[in-house]
């Protein structure tokens, strides 16, 4: 049976995150990733874990205006920072959302939020990207269902709105 005296001390820390404009104060363990905190602690389940290796982009969020892989980012390092997740992009009714629906950019849909977040970060810094720039921005996002060509159409259409 578990014994209290054998408990491993963990230096939890309270951090503040501004996620989609809302302030969260959350106690995190130092090894928790931002993906884990968003998905499991804050219930923002649109930020998906796929590869857990920084190789697929499914967990992308916008951290201080830059798309980052939240599975490779420690939550404790994000104290005081501003984060935008897929839920925030959806709440703002960004034109990418409807363009993604219209162009059927999803199959199983598990990786889709990561694409939308990456594309949003692209459009934030480059509102009128070329097809090549869209490809370059999204090349780090893996879609096992192979929906790639549809994303390019959707992002270019959203950029024209």
């Amino acid at each position: 049976m578990a014994q209290l005296d054998k408990k491993v001390p963990i230096s939890e820390e309270e951090i503040s995150l501004v996620v989609n404009g809302d302030l969260y104060e959350v106690r995190v363990q130092p090894n928790w990733t931002l993906q884990y905190v968003l998905h499991n602690e804050l219930g923002l389940t649109g930020t998906k874990e796929f590869c857990n290796d920084g190789a697929c982009g499914a967990c992308a969020v916008i951290l201080e205006e830059r798309a980052v892989l939240s599975c490779m980012t420690l939550a404790i390092e994000c104290d005081g920072k501003t984060i935008e997740t897929i839920e925030g992009i959806a709440r703002a009714n960004h034109p990418l959302i409807e363009a993604y629906v219209k162009h059927s950019c999803m199959q199983c849909g598990y990786c889709t939020p990561g694409f939308v977040v990456t594309a949003k970060a692209l459009l934030d810094r480059n509102p009128k990207p070329t097809e090549e720039e869209v490809q370059e921005a999204l090349v780090g996002n893996l879609c096992r269902c192979g929906t790639y060509p549809q994303h390019i159409k959707a992002v270019l259409e959203a950029a024209s709105k």
Partner: protein, 820 residues
């Protein structure tokens, strides 16, 4: 016979349909129309779609399995005391737990009794010995490291041909004590006399190739959640077969009534068949059920990312071929032998397409399925892979050996069961199909799109300005997604707004079939597409094909159509019958004095055909829910309209119907294959590095009839990417010395990215020659299965050498070039 009976007899006539659809619609509204908004689109684009991995329940524990560090080893003893003592650990379930039965039914296509927590591992990474449940996944993982196991290592074998040699280690003596090749694994398919065929040939061609192990890489890890609500289970399954999951669970713990089990089958982070076909795929749920009962807490079990890599596609093998052909490209005989690794499903063979699809009179193929110490292989989009590889390579080797254009060789040999295309055409006519030459139509469209006639050249002769060698490849086969299965679906018209809800429990695998069902229901009922909805996750008691047995639309499409046709009859009969009959009176029919056949429904409005201004919306006709009975009250409820007398708010009977369909399909050999597909690939090969760039893919599929355009095109795009990945870069690699899998992660297992294909052209052909409703045949498995081997003739056309293994990684290309 009344009209409902007449409708039912038509429906039954098309059960196990072996002919053209006798009763298609005369006019289509949403079917085949572009731009139908997909039902799950907004939910998935916004991240709102929920997957099993997203489920969090109050008090939920997280469970993970111990896995074997060795490819073949037995647990002699195990000490779990340190793991049990770790704070946050709530349960450790061991293989020797008295509550675990020796075996239990743990799923697959059918029920199959296997050990719940085995004590012998037959591959490195296998879940064995123990499962730990803790307050977090992290604690569970820490606890697993504290389990001390005394292993007895056993000799192992990884290579299928080595496993056949005398004296080879037994890979699985528990199940196969007599040898690594087993009786159920030997399969022979043949027709004609191959020796006679070789004697008639002008040229004999022999070749061999090897297919490496590839896997599905489901973005969502295998996982599940089990909760006991009192005595009865509530279960979240990441599975393609919720109906089989429920059947499996019902067999546990001495039997649980089906009506006491609640299943949730949320969105699936893709699996392409894979995991759901494993004989042990419900093992996590069984363990979770035991732990949940002991702890009184819900349990989520899961694999880690690496553990998902251990299962694979069942085409890993070595293939040997001898082919005889005449100088004009007529193939006279094909003899093949293939040795496959670890097929856990019934063996499907690898020359079936040469029999089903061609006029080749003499075909013989012997399959030997061999056990090795790697993970199980199952159909992963799909079991036809070996057939497609065989057809592609046989045809292209023949074209190469005879100096012919591979398109010519295809057209010359198209047919069925040793008969030519004229014979097949007469069968098409007998079965009521419009006689179309599907292969020719597919080829004409594809060759124009890729510019075949301008670009085709002799192998190894075209160097591009960038220094790379240009290659063009072509292959073809039939469309097959219409096999065995049964399906039940129902439709209910909602009170208050008259919208329609489709009921059926299935797994959403992302192919947008849900929208396609709505299109069928809408067009059949005469409703607007936006008035029909389907949430497949509901455990509604109607078990609907999920793509399983390679079947979706061709069975489910009939089921939903049948439900819609019966429901439409019911609506029109209700519209012409008295309503709201009570002791205080009744209301006259909505369409007094009319007969059902005098009415129709269009745009969700019931109207009189001879007098369309006599109309009533479905919403108004079905009326309100709850208090809106035949008696209107003076307070709180609507009063009769001015001038109306008597019962003003007549209550119609609930409008609900169900439909079903059952068919034996192609596996029983019941159907001639009529629709064809053709694929074209353009590559650029760097002869210095061996790197192959796929510049273009043109994929042409005769789907009979398109129901949902974006869904079909999505399967073509997705199939092209998965196919190119399998053909070019994807392989699960094991260390030959230790048997340990080396690349179970997305960094080292190379799934294609957006830039891995230069351009994809998708072309759909509609000959109407599918056996499904309206002439459909499915598409979703086809492209990913046919494309992989196509890279071989494309590379051959570039460099003039055959790459004899897949994936065609740079080292294999350099080897073909004689550079290693």
């Amino acid at each position: 016979m009344n009209m409902a009976n007449d409708e039912m007899s038509k429906i039954q006539e098309l059960f196990d349909n072996l002919r053209a659809d006798k009763y298609p619609l005369k006019k289509y509204q949403s079917i085949g129309k572009r731009g139908v908004r997909r039902l799950d689109g907004y939910e998935k684009a916004t991240g709102a779609a929920k997957y099993t991995m997203d489920v969090q329940l109050p008090g939920m524990l997280y469970a993970r399995f111990l896995t074997s560090p060795y490819p073949h080893a037995e647990i002699k003893s195990m000490d779990t005391s340190r793991a049990e003592a770790l704070p946050g650990v709530r349960a450790v379930l061991r293989y020797d737990d008295p509550e675990l039965p020796p075996t239990a039914d743990l799923g697959a296509h059918e029920l199959s009794a296997v050990p719940v927590l085995p004590k012998v591992a037959h591959f490195q990474g296998q879940e064995v010995g123990a499962i730990v449940a803790a307050d977090s996944e992290e604690i569970a993982e820490q606890a697993l490291k504290l389990i001390e196991v005394e292993w007895e290592e056993r000799p192992f074998v990884l290579d299928m041909e080595e496993a056949l040699e005398p004296g080879a280690p037994l890979a699985d003596p528990e199940s196969y004590p007599d040898g690594n090749v087993y009786n159920q694994g030997i399969d022979v398919e043949e027709h004609g006399d191959v020796e006679k065929g070789f004697a008639e040939a002008d040229k004999i061609i022999e070749f061999k190739f090897r297919q490496g192990l590839n896997t599905w890489v489901g973005p969502e890890r295998p996982c599940g959640v089990f909760r006991w609500n009192g005595e009865y289970p509530e279960v979240w399954v990441k599975q393609q077969h919720p109906h089989i999951c429920k059947r499996v669970i019902a067999s546990w713990f001495g039997g649980i009534p089906m009506n006491k089990i609640q299943i949730h089958c949320l969105y699936q982070g893709a699996s392409f068949g894979g995991w759901s076909q494993m004989p042990w795929n419900m093992g996590g749920h069984y363990c979770a059920a035991v732990i949940a009962k002991r702890t009184g807490r819900p349990v989520k079990w899961m694999f880690n990312r690496r553990e998902d890599f251990y299962g694979g596609e069942m085409d890993e093998g070595v293939y040997y071929f001898k082919v005889g052909a005449k100088l004009d490209g007529t193939i006279t005989a094909v003899k093949g032998r293939a040795v496959f690794a670890n097929q856990t499903m019934p063996v499907f063979g690898f020359v079936r397409h040469l029999i089903d699809n061609t006029r080749i009179p003499n075909v013989y193929g012997k399959t030997e399925a061999v056990k090795v110490n790697k993970g199980p292989t199952v159909p992963v989009r799909c079991e036809q892979n070996p057939n497609c590889h065989s057809l592609t390579l046989v045809f292209n080797h023949v074209a190469d050996a005879l100096g012919l254009d591979p398109i010519e060789v295809a057209l010359k040999n198209d047919g069925a069961h040793g008969h030519d295309i004229a014979w097949l055409n007469s069968r098409k006519a007998e079965m009521g199909f419009q006689v179309r030459d599907s292969l020719k139509e597919c080829i004409e469209k594809g060759r124009a799109a890729i510019g075949w006639d301008e670009k085709w050249h002799a192998p190894g002769t075209k160097k591009l300005p960038n220094g790379k060698m240009h290659g063009l490849g072509f292959t073809w086969t039939h469309e097959w997604d219409d096999s065995a299965g049964s399906s039940e679906m129902a439709i209910r018209i909602e009170r208050n707004d008259g919208t329609a809800t489709i009921l059926g429990c299935r797994s959403d695998v992302g192919v947008n079939a849900e929208t396609a069902y709505c299109q069928v229901a809408a067009d059949e009922l005469g409703m607007r597409i936006e008035d029909v909805h389907y949430r497949p996750q509901i455990d509604a008691g109607f078990f609907t094909m999920t793509p399983d047995s390679s079947t979706n639309m061709s069975v489910n499409g009939f089921a939903i159509r049948n439900a819609a046709r019966l429901l439409k009859r019911k609506i029109l009969e209700a519209a012409t019958s008295p309503r709201g009959v009570t002791q205080r009176g009744s209301a006259p029919p909505a369409f007094p004095g009319k007969k059902p056949e005098e009415l129709d429904i269009k745009d969700s409005v019931i109207y009189e055909k001879a007098n369309p201004s006599n109309r009533r919306t479905l919403a108004k006709f079905v009326g309100y829910s709850g208090a809106m009975g035949p008696i209107s009250s003076p307070r709180g409820e609507p009063l009769p309209s001015p001038g109306e007398k008597g019962v003003s708010y007549p209550f119609t009977a609930p409008l609900f119907e169900y439909g079903w369909q059952v068919q034996l399909g192609a596996y029983a050999g019941a159907r001639l294959r009529l629709c064809r597909q053709a694929h074209f690939m353009e590559v650029e090969v760097d002869t210095e590095t061996g790197e192959v760039d796929v510049a273009r893919v043109v994929t042409v599929n005769d789907v009979g009839r398109v129901i949902n355009w974006e869904g079909c095109e999505g399967q073509q795009y997705g199939g092209a990417y998965m196919g190119v990945g399998r053909g070019r870069s994807e392989e699960v690699v094991h260390d030959p010395m230790t048997g340990v899998m080396l690349n179970g992660n997305l960094l080292n297992y190379k799934v294609p990215t957006m830039l891995d294909i230069g351009r994809i052209d998708t072309i759909l052909v509609e000959t109407g020659m599918g056996y499904g409703p309206y002439g459909v045949v499915g598409i979703a498995e086809d492209v990913a299965t046919v494309i992989p081997a196509l890279i071989s003739p494309a590379i051959h056309n570039a460099i003039g050498k055959w790459v004899d293994g897949f994936p065609a990684t740079p080292d294999k290309v350099l080897k073909a070039l004689g550079k290693t």
